[in-house]
Symmetry: C2
DNA sequence: CTGAATCCCTAGCGATACTG
DNA sequence: CAGTATCGCTAGGGATTCAG
Protein backbone atom coordinates (compact mmCIF):
# COMPACT_ATOMS: atom_id res chain seq x y z
CA UNK A 1 0.00 0.00 0.00
CA UNK A 2 1.39 3.32 -1.07
CA UNK A 3 1.99 6.19 1.28
CA UNK A 4 -1.02 8.45 1.54
CA UNK A 5 -1.14 12.20 1.79
CA UNK A 6 -2.91 13.67 4.79
CA UNK A 7 -5.87 14.56 2.61
CA UNK A 8 -6.12 11.03 1.28
CA UNK A 9 -5.98 9.60 4.76
CA UNK A 10 -8.73 11.89 5.93
CA UNK A 11 -10.80 10.87 2.96
CA UNK A 12 -10.30 7.20 3.68
CA UNK A 13 -11.13 7.65 7.36
CA UNK A 14 -14.25 9.50 6.42
CA UNK A 15 -15.34 6.64 4.18
CA UNK A 16 -14.74 4.10 6.92
CA UNK A 17 -16.51 6.31 9.39
CA UNK A 18 -19.53 6.78 7.19
CA UNK A 19 -19.72 3.05 6.65
CA UNK A 20 -19.68 2.52 10.39
CA UNK A 21 -22.41 5.06 10.84
CA UNK A 22 -24.57 3.46 8.22
CA UNK A 23 -24.45 0.23 10.16
CA UNK A 24 -25.07 1.88 13.51
CA UNK A 25 -28.69 1.80 14.71
CA UNK A 26 -28.12 4.79 16.95
CA UNK A 27 -27.16 6.83 13.93
CA UNK A 28 -30.37 5.99 12.16
CA UNK A 29 -32.52 7.14 14.99
CA UNK A 30 -30.39 10.19 15.36
CA UNK A 31 -31.15 10.95 11.75
CA UNK A 32 -34.82 10.75 12.56
CA UNK A 33 -35.03 12.80 15.71
CA UNK A 34 -32.30 15.23 14.83
CA UNK A 35 -34.77 16.81 12.47
CA UNK A 36 -36.50 19.47 14.48
CA UNK A 37 -39.75 19.11 12.58
CA UNK A 38 -39.88 15.42 13.33
CA UNK A 39 -39.74 16.03 17.04
CA UNK A 40 -42.36 18.75 16.84
CA UNK A 41 -44.76 16.60 14.84
CA UNK A 42 -44.16 13.73 17.22
CA UNK A 43 -44.96 16.02 20.12
CA UNK A 44 -48.05 17.41 18.40
CA UNK A 45 -49.40 13.93 17.74
CA UNK A 46 -48.51 12.78 21.25
CA UNK A 47 -51.94 13.53 22.62
CA UNK A 48 -54.08 12.12 19.88
CA UNK A 49 -54.72 12.10 16.11
CA UNK A 50 -54.70 15.36 14.21
CA UNK A 51 -55.80 16.56 10.81
CA UNK A 52 -53.32 18.04 8.40
CA UNK A 53 -54.77 21.48 8.97
CA UNK A 54 -54.57 21.02 12.73
CA UNK A 55 -50.88 20.22 12.54
CA UNK A 56 -50.32 23.15 10.26
CA UNK A 57 -51.94 25.43 12.82
CA UNK A 58 -50.24 23.95 15.88
CA UNK A 59 -46.80 23.95 14.32
CA UNK A 60 -47.25 27.39 12.86
CA UNK A 61 -43.60 27.82 11.95
CA UNK A 62 -43.49 24.89 9.58
CA UNK A 63 -43.95 25.55 5.90
CA UNK A 64 -46.33 23.33 3.95
CA UNK A 65 -43.36 21.78 2.30
CA UNK A 66 -41.62 20.83 5.53
CA UNK A 67 -44.79 19.56 7.16
CA UNK A 68 -45.67 17.32 4.25
CA UNK A 69 -42.09 16.16 3.84
CA UNK A 70 -41.81 15.33 7.53
CA UNK A 71 -45.12 13.49 7.64
CA UNK A 72 -44.11 11.43 4.61
CA UNK A 73 -40.85 10.33 6.14
CA UNK A 74 -42.53 9.45 9.42
CA UNK A 75 -45.17 7.49 7.56
CA UNK A 76 -42.50 5.66 5.61
CA UNK A 77 -40.75 4.69 8.82
CA UNK A 78 -43.97 3.38 10.30
CA UNK A 79 -44.07 6.01 13.03
CA UNK A 80 -47.29 7.69 11.98
CA UNK A 81 -50.41 6.44 10.23
CA UNK A 82 -52.24 8.36 7.52
CA UNK A 83 -55.95 8.09 6.89
CA UNK A 84 -57.61 9.69 3.90
CA UNK A 85 -61.33 10.31 4.02
CA UNK A 86 -62.56 10.88 0.51
CA UNK A 87 -65.11 13.64 0.79
CA UNK A 88 -65.84 16.91 -0.93
CA UNK A 89 -63.10 18.72 0.77
CA UNK A 90 -60.65 15.87 1.30
CA UNK A 91 -59.83 15.10 4.90
CA UNK A 92 -56.57 13.54 6.05
CA UNK A 93 -55.86 12.37 9.57
CA UNK A 94 -52.50 11.51 11.07
CA UNK A 95 -51.86 9.53 14.22
CA UNK A 96 -48.95 7.90 15.97
CA UNK A 97 -48.59 4.19 15.41
CA UNK A 98 -47.62 1.91 18.27
CA UNK A 99 -44.03 2.31 17.17
CA UNK A 100 -44.47 6.05 17.04
CA UNK A 101 -45.82 6.10 20.56
CA UNK A 102 -42.86 4.20 21.88
CA UNK A 103 -40.47 6.67 20.31
CA UNK A 104 -42.57 9.51 21.61
CA UNK A 105 -42.14 8.12 25.11
CA UNK A 106 -38.36 8.27 24.79
CA UNK A 107 -38.44 11.75 23.32
CA UNK A 108 -40.59 12.81 26.24
CA UNK A 109 -37.79 11.72 28.56
CA UNK A 110 -35.51 14.03 26.70
CA UNK A 111 -38.02 16.79 27.17
CA UNK A 112 -38.23 16.02 30.87
CA UNK A 113 -34.45 16.15 31.14
CA UNK A 114 -34.51 19.50 29.43
CA UNK A 115 -37.09 20.95 31.75
CA UNK A 116 -35.19 19.88 34.83
CA UNK A 117 -31.72 20.92 33.68
CA UNK A 118 -32.17 23.91 31.43
CA UNK A 119 -31.44 26.23 34.31
CA UNK A 120 -28.06 24.65 34.91
CA UNK A 121 -27.21 25.02 31.26
CA UNK A 122 -28.12 28.67 31.28
CA UNK A 123 -26.04 29.24 34.39
CA UNK A 124 -23.11 27.49 32.76
CA UNK A 125 -23.48 29.68 29.70
CA UNK A 126 -23.59 32.85 31.73
CA UNK A 127 -20.52 31.76 33.67
CA UNK A 128 -18.67 30.83 30.49
CA UNK A 129 -19.49 34.07 28.76
CA UNK A 130 -18.19 36.04 31.72
CA UNK B 1 -55.75 46.20 13.12
CA UNK B 2 -55.58 46.19 9.35
CA UNK B 3 -56.32 43.15 7.25
CA UNK B 4 -53.21 41.07 6.61
CA UNK B 5 -52.14 39.32 3.47
CA UNK B 6 -51.50 35.61 3.67
CA UNK B 7 -47.77 36.24 3.59
CA UNK B 8 -47.99 38.71 6.45
CA UNK B 9 -50.04 36.29 8.51
CA UNK B 10 -47.52 33.51 7.96
CA UNK B 11 -44.76 35.86 8.96
CA UNK B 12 -46.54 36.84 12.15
CA UNK B 13 -47.30 33.20 13.00
CA UNK B 14 -43.69 32.35 12.47
CA UNK B 15 -42.62 35.08 14.83
CA UNK B 16 -45.05 33.93 17.50
CA UNK B 17 -43.94 30.38 16.99
CA UNK B 18 -40.29 31.21 17.27
CA UNK B 19 -40.97 33.11 20.44
CA UNK B 20 -42.73 30.08 21.85
CA UNK B 21 -39.83 27.88 20.89
CA UNK B 22 -37.33 30.18 22.52
CA UNK B 23 -39.17 29.80 25.78
CA UNK B 24 -39.55 26.04 25.46
CA UNK B 25 -36.94 23.98 27.30
CA UNK B 26 -37.51 21.02 25.02
CA UNK B 27 -36.49 23.15 22.07
CA UNK B 28 -33.22 24.09 23.70
CA UNK B 29 -32.21 20.52 24.29
CA UNK B 30 -33.31 19.66 20.82
CA UNK B 31 -30.92 22.30 19.58
CA UNK B 32 -28.16 20.58 21.50
CA UNK B 33 -28.72 16.99 20.54
CA UNK B 34 -29.99 17.66 17.06
CA UNK B 35 -26.38 18.36 16.16
CA UNK B 36 -24.98 15.06 15.08
CA UNK B 37 -21.47 15.91 16.25
CA UNK B 38 -22.76 16.68 19.72
CA UNK B 39 -24.24 13.25 20.09
CA UNK B 40 -21.12 11.57 18.77
CA UNK B 41 -18.84 13.49 21.12
CA UNK B 42 -21.18 12.73 23.99
CA UNK B 43 -21.02 9.06 23.08
CA UNK B 44 -17.25 9.11 22.73
CA UNK B 45 -16.83 10.68 26.16
CA UNK B 46 -19.38 8.35 27.68
CA UNK B 47 -16.76 5.87 28.82
CA UNK B 48 -14.18 8.21 30.25
CA UNK B 49 -12.07 11.32 29.54
CA UNK B 50 -10.36 11.69 26.19
CA UNK B 51 -7.64 13.86 24.70
CA UNK B 52 -8.38 16.08 21.75
CA UNK B 53 -6.37 13.83 19.50
CA UNK B 54 -8.22 10.77 20.81
CA UNK B 55 -11.56 12.30 19.93
CA UNK B 56 -10.25 13.28 16.54
CA UNK B 57 -9.26 9.67 15.91
CA UNK B 58 -12.42 8.08 17.31
CA UNK B 59 -14.76 10.41 15.47
CA UNK B 60 -12.77 10.16 12.29
CA UNK B 61 -15.41 11.81 10.13
CA UNK B 62 -15.35 15.09 12.02
CA UNK B 63 -13.26 17.91 10.65
CA UNK B 64 -11.06 19.84 13.08
CA UNK B 65 -13.39 22.74 12.76
CA UNK B 66 -16.50 20.78 13.72
CA UNK B 67 -14.79 18.98 16.55
CA UNK B 68 -13.47 22.16 18.13
CA UNK B 69 -16.71 24.00 17.51
CA UNK B 70 -18.73 21.20 19.10
CA UNK B 71 -16.44 20.91 22.11
CA UNK B 72 -16.66 24.65 22.67
CA UNK B 73 -20.42 24.69 22.69
CA UNK B 74 -20.57 21.69 25.00
CA UNK B 75 -18.10 23.34 27.33
CA UNK B 76 -20.12 26.54 27.29
CA UNK B 77 -23.25 24.62 28.24
CA UNK B 78 -21.45 22.93 31.10
CA UNK B 79 -21.73 19.48 29.59
CA UNK B 80 -18.02 18.80 29.21
CA UNK B 81 -14.99 19.94 31.14
CA UNK B 82 -11.73 21.00 29.51
CA UNK B 83 -8.33 20.59 31.11
CA UNK B 84 -5.21 22.10 29.60
CA UNK B 85 -1.85 20.66 30.60
CA UNK B 86 0.82 23.18 29.72
CA UNK B 87 3.67 21.13 28.38
CA UNK B 88 5.91 21.16 25.35
CA UNK B 89 3.34 19.73 23.12
CA UNK B 90 0.22 21.10 24.77
CA UNK B 91 -2.16 18.45 26.03
CA UNK B 92 -5.89 19.01 26.38
CA UNK B 93 -8.29 16.60 28.03
CA UNK B 94 -12.06 16.59 27.80
CA UNK B 95 -14.49 14.81 30.08
CA UNK B 96 -18.21 14.76 30.75
CA UNK B 97 -19.35 16.85 33.67
CA UNK B 98 -22.03 15.53 35.99
CA UNK B 99 -24.57 17.34 33.87
CA UNK B 100 -23.05 15.83 30.76
CA UNK B 101 -23.32 12.36 32.19
CA UNK B 102 -26.98 12.81 32.99
CA UNK B 103 -27.68 13.87 29.40
CA UNK B 104 -25.59 11.01 28.15
CA UNK B 105 -27.81 8.64 30.12
CA UNK B 106 -30.89 9.93 28.33
CA UNK B 107 -29.26 9.77 24.95
CA UNK B 108 -28.28 6.20 25.70
CA UNK B 109 -31.99 5.40 26.14
CA UNK B 110 -32.53 6.74 22.67
CA UNK B 111 -29.77 4.50 21.44
CA UNK B 112 -31.34 1.53 23.18
CA UNK B 113 -34.67 2.32 21.59
CA UNK B 114 -32.96 2.44 18.22
CA UNK B 115 -31.29 -0.91 18.65
CA UNK B 116 -34.51 -2.61 19.61
CA UNK B 117 -36.73 -1.03 16.95
CA UNK B 118 -34.56 -0.41 13.95
CA UNK B 119 -35.73 -3.63 12.38
CA UNK B 120 -39.35 -2.55 12.51
CA UNK B 121 -38.45 0.74 10.90
CA UNK B 122 -36.63 -0.99 8.10
CA UNK B 123 -39.56 -3.32 7.53
CA UNK B 124 -41.91 -0.36 7.43
CA UNK B 125 -39.69 1.32 4.89
CA UNK B 126 -39.53 -1.73 2.70
CA UNK B 127 -43.31 -2.08 2.87
CA UNK B 128 -43.85 1.59 2.09
CA UNK B 129 -41.48 1.56 -0.85
CA UNK B 130 -43.27 -1.42 -2.32
C1' DC C 1 -0.54 19.14 19.71
C1' DT C 2 -4.40 22.14 19.80
C1' DG C 3 -6.81 25.58 17.82
C1' DA C 4 -8.23 29.98 15.07
C1' DA C 5 -9.32 32.06 10.58
C1' DT C 6 -10.48 31.99 5.81
C1' DC C 7 -12.62 30.48 1.49
C1' DC C 8 -16.08 28.14 -0.83
C1' DC C 9 -19.68 25.07 -2.17
C1' DT C 10 -23.71 22.29 -1.52
C1' DA C 11 -28.02 20.84 0.71
C1' DG C 12 -31.83 22.33 3.26
C1' DC C 13 -35.45 25.19 3.68
C1' DG C 14 -38.76 29.11 2.75
C1' DA C 15 -41.78 31.46 -0.56
C1' DT C 16 -44.67 31.18 -4.38
C1' DA C 17 -47.67 29.23 -7.73
C1' DC C 18 -50.39 25.34 -9.50
C1' DT C 19 -53.47 20.73 -9.16
C1' DG C 20 -57.14 17.19 -7.66
C1' DC D 1 -58.45 20.85 2.12
C1' DA D 2 -54.25 18.65 1.07
C1' DG D 3 -50.93 18.41 -1.35
C1' DT D 4 -46.99 18.88 -5.63
C1' DA D 5 -43.49 21.57 -8.34
C1' DT D 6 -40.17 25.07 -8.92
C1' DC D 7 -36.94 28.82 -7.81
C1' DG D 8 -33.71 31.19 -5.00
C1' DC D 9 -31.25 32.14 -0.90
C1' DT D 10 -28.43 31.34 3.19
C1' DA D 11 -26.23 28.77 6.68
C1' DG D 12 -23.70 24.56 7.79
C1' DG D 13 -19.77 22.42 7.27
C1' DG D 14 -15.41 20.70 4.61
C1' DA D 15 -10.65 21.87 2.98
C1' DT D 16 -6.87 24.67 3.67
C1' DT D 17 -3.77 27.71 5.92
C1' DC D 18 -1.78 30.20 9.84
C1' DA D 19 -0.54 30.54 15.06
C1' DG D 20 0.57 29.61 20.20
Amino acid sequence: MATLTAAQRRQRDRQAYDAFLAACPARKVLDRISDKWVTLVLAALGDGPKRYSDLSRIIAGASQKMLTQTLRSLERDGLVGRTVTTAVPVRVDYELTELGHSLHAVVRQLKDWAESHIEEIEQARAAYDA
